[in-house]
């Protein structure tokens, strides 16, 4: 009995046909998924310590790691951390500030994303920042880049070293459904090119698409926001989700949509135990 459950978990995580994942999304528990997902990568990349997976492709490719380490000498995200700190310390028009919403300071990464049982939804850090602004009569910031990304850079920097620990509260059917929706999303083929997230970041991780090496999905949520040379600025996790959907010619969901919040919930849970290390620099 136990064996079949494990077999189904393996099937769901390794098998990529959308029907398999969708049909079986509810058949394995979040704890089982975490174990299967993590060991898939630690077996595929033996010798890479768990914490290293927070560095994306640089955990598995020495050549790109070398140039990344050179970039990290003068991190391109540094000015954004400074801007974020300034924003954090600038009072709203009503005299209040972010620290009135985040009572224990900017080091908040470890608390997000989380399930809110009353609101029956996954709450992310960017969402909370904009809700804080609106509660204080300020306009919400744009989700994907700009000031919000800078605030996240500052908060991420202050949170460095905190461990990912996303909880799917037991006995809360809503939380489990949100998690399973994120999981199905991850394993479902999408777009004209017909790839799932898992096609590229599990099955093909470590392989080359032209000269790009596909990063392992483990640790994918720890290093945000990311300064990407290709963007020429800082971007949020949901900006990246949208970009990856577009690459396969699928219509992206909106940043902070239910779909992406649930995807973030699932994917961050998969990185439980790995330290937050944002902001980061990427090619």
């Amino acid at each position: 009995m136990k064996k079949t459950v494990v077999a189904i978990a393996t099937l769901c995580v390794v098998g990529l046909s959308s029907t398999v994942a969708a049909k079986n999304a509810a058949d394995t528990t979040p704890a089982q998924d975490l174990e299967t997902y993590r060991s898939y990568f630690t077996k595929k990349f033996p010798g890479v310590p768990l914490q290293e997976f927070s560095n994306g492709v640089y955990a598995i490719d020495q050549i790109s790691r070398d140039s990344w380490e050179a970039i990290e000498e003068f991190p391109p995200y540094e000015p954004f951390i400074e801007e974020g700190e300034e924003l954090w310390n600038t009072p709203f028009a009503n005299g209040k500030g972010y620290s009135d919403c985040f009572k224990d300071g900017p080091a908040q990464r470890k608390n997000y994303p989380h399930w809110n049982a009353e609101r029956k939804m996954v709450i992310t850090l960017p969402l909370t920042i904009n809700e804080c602004r609106e509660a204080n009569g300020e306009k919400p910031l744009k989700w994907k880049k700009g000031k919000l990304a800078s605030l996240l850079a500052y908060m991420g920097y202050e949170s460095r070293g905190q461990k990912t620990n996303v909880v799917i509260p037991e006995g809360d059917a809503g939380a489990l459904t949100a998690y399973n929706e994120g999981k199905s999303q991850y394993f479902s083929r999408r777009g004209q090119l017909n790839f799932a997230c898992a096609s590229c970041h599990m099955q093909s991780s470590g392989m080359h698409v032209r000269t790009d090496i596909l990063s392992p999905g483990l640790g994918h949520t720890t290093g945000w926001p990311v300064y990407r040379s290709k963007w020429g600025n800082l971007g949020t996790l949901h900006r990246r989700f949208g970009g990856c959907n577009q690459q396969v010619r699928a219509k992206p969901f909106k940043a902070q949509s239910k779909e992406y919040r649930n995807l973030e919930y699932f994917l961050t849970h998969m990185s439980n135990g790995i330290e937050f290390n944002g902001p980061s620099a990427r090619k």
Binding site: F195, H208, V209, R210
Partner: protein, 123 residues
């Protein structure tokens, strides 16, 4: 002198015969060449075939390595229908494939797939 004149005449008529018969042959070759060149362009173009994203092939620069190198296609795919099926819908052969369904999802038209196949058979 007489001999060489005769030879010249012979050569000339031979050339004429050859020219007549060669015209359609060479224009056919031109047509095939064009199709092959078109197929190659489609295979390399990032927005169209983008086969190079995953396959080492021919003189393509910086190929990916998700799929096997495309070499000796005639020997490995004596049956063009098999090759066509792989381009139409690779999921039929391998449900977990990483290769996009070029025909089924209309990434390439039927004509474009024909051209790519012509090109593949030169590899």
């Amino acid at each position: 002198m007489r001999k060489s004149a005769k030879l010249t005449a012979m050569a000339a008529s031979l050339a004429a015969v050859l020219a007549v018969s060669l015209v359609p042959v060479s224009s056919m070759a031109e047509g095939a060449k064009e199709t092959i060149a078109k197929g190659k362009k489609l295979a390399y173009n990032r927005k169209l075939g983008n086969c190079l994203a995953c396959h080492m092939m021919d003189d393509g620069v910086s190929p990916g390595d998700l799929g096997p190198p495309l070499v000796a296609m005639k020997a490995r795919f004596p049956d063009p229908a098999k090759l066509r099926a792989q381009l139409e819908d690779p999921m039929a052969a391998n449900p977990n494939t990483m290769m996009p369904p070029f025909g089924k999802h209309k990434i390439l038209t039927a004509d474009e797939i024909d051209a790519v196949i012509e090109y593949l058979y030169t590899l």
